[in-house]
């Protein structure tokens, strides 16, 4: 038990690449740390794209499964694991959306949180739905950049790495995306609880 705890503790300080190598070389505990590092991020990424919890669940599970499978052949000179996972999740989301063909923008079925009153909850849902609708109309790169920055909380340098762009290009994409979002949402302001200009 002590040995196991020590090993877990040592593993926690390791880089993502080193953990994956450790997993491939016979240390299964490494997968727990990798799961804790990436699961929430890829689930959130998937959810904001497919807007369905069950689909996001499946996609996150599939992406991690592919990570375990590639572990023995993982080349440390390759892209970062986070970037690799981002691309896998993105592709899986695209596949899932193609399969469904129709993106149901009203698909959020989150139970009402006790801390929120019903009015606030409904207002939030309406705003979220309006935002997702407006996001869906943006060009792909803008949508990805805005979604990563403002919904998934990823920093600009990381976004630049994932999208293989310069930081300046990412900043520009985000600025243009936000402007387009504002324009698209302006017409619904009063319905969504804001005063018109």
């Amino acid at each position: 038990m002590m040995k196991s705890l020590m090993r877990f503790d040592q593993l926690s300080g390791m880089s993502d690449d080193a953990l994956l190598k450790a997993y491939a070389n016979g240390i299964p505990e490494a997968s727990q740390i990798l799961t804790d590092r990436f699961m929430s991020k890829i689930f959130t990424q998937a959810f904001h794209r497919v807007r369905n919890e069950a689909d996001a669940d499946d996609i996150a599970q599939e992406a991690m499964l592919r990570l375990w499978r590639i572990a023995p052949n993982w080349n440390q000179g390759n892209a970062k694991i986070s970037t690799w996972l981002y691309k896998i999740v993105n592709n899986l989301c695209i596949d899932r959306l193609r399969q469904k063909k129709i993106v149901n923008l009203e698909a959020v079925t989150e139970p009402i949180d006790d801390r929120q009153n019903v009015t606030n909850y409904l207002l939030n849902q309406s705003r979220a739905n309006a935002l997702y609708s407006a996001l869906a109309k943006l060009p792909v790169r803008q949508r990805e950049a805005v979604s990563m920055r403002h919904l998934e909380g990823i920093s600009n340098p990381e976004i630049a790495e994932k999208l293989e762009l310069s930081i300046e290009a990412v900043e520009s994409l985000i600025a243009r995306g936000k402007k387009a979002l504002s324009d698209a949402l302006r017409s619904q302001k009063s319905e969504l609880g804001y005063q018109n200009d």
């Binding site: 997968s31 929430s40 991690m64 572990a71 935002l131 936000k178 504002s182």
Partner: protein, 123 residues
């Protein structure tokens, strides 16, 4: 202008916050499923790796000799050799007899005009 931009950003932040709040969190069951998959893949790779790493002297020799086709070639040649050696031991006598009976035609290579020089030169 700035005020309008600030208002716009402020409202957008509201929308983003609403979307984040409405998004579910990754569940414990998802974590369990991911870890179960990792365990299964780990077991698969464990059963696979020793086979891959297994380099017995027999395998090495097999590879050194050139693989399956070489081994078949060596085997065929060896079988024919053994067959010849064991089934027809008198063949060696036949070969010896043949050797003795060969007629060699000896060609006279000596110069037939060797005496002409002395004849014409008056020696």
């Amino acid at each position: 202008m700035t005020k309008s931009k600030n208002n716009r950003d402020f409202e957008l932040e509201d929308y983003f916050a609403a979307a984040k709040q409405s998004a579910p969190k990754a569940s414990k069951s998802l974590r369990d499923k991911i870890l179960k998959n990792s365990e299964q893949e780990f077991q698969k790779s464990k059963s696979y790796v020793p086979k891959k790493l297994q380099n017995s002297w027999w395998n090495n020799l097999f590879k050194e000799l050139g693989g399956f086709y070489s081994i078949v070639g060596y085997g065929t040649v060896a079988t024919i050799g053994i067959f010849i050696g064991l089934s027809s031991p008198h063949w060696s006598n036949i070969i010896l007899q043949l050797d003795e009976n060969i007629t060699i035609v000896e060609v006279e290579l000596a110069d037939p005009f060797v005496d002409l020089n002395s004849l014409y030169l008056g020696e």
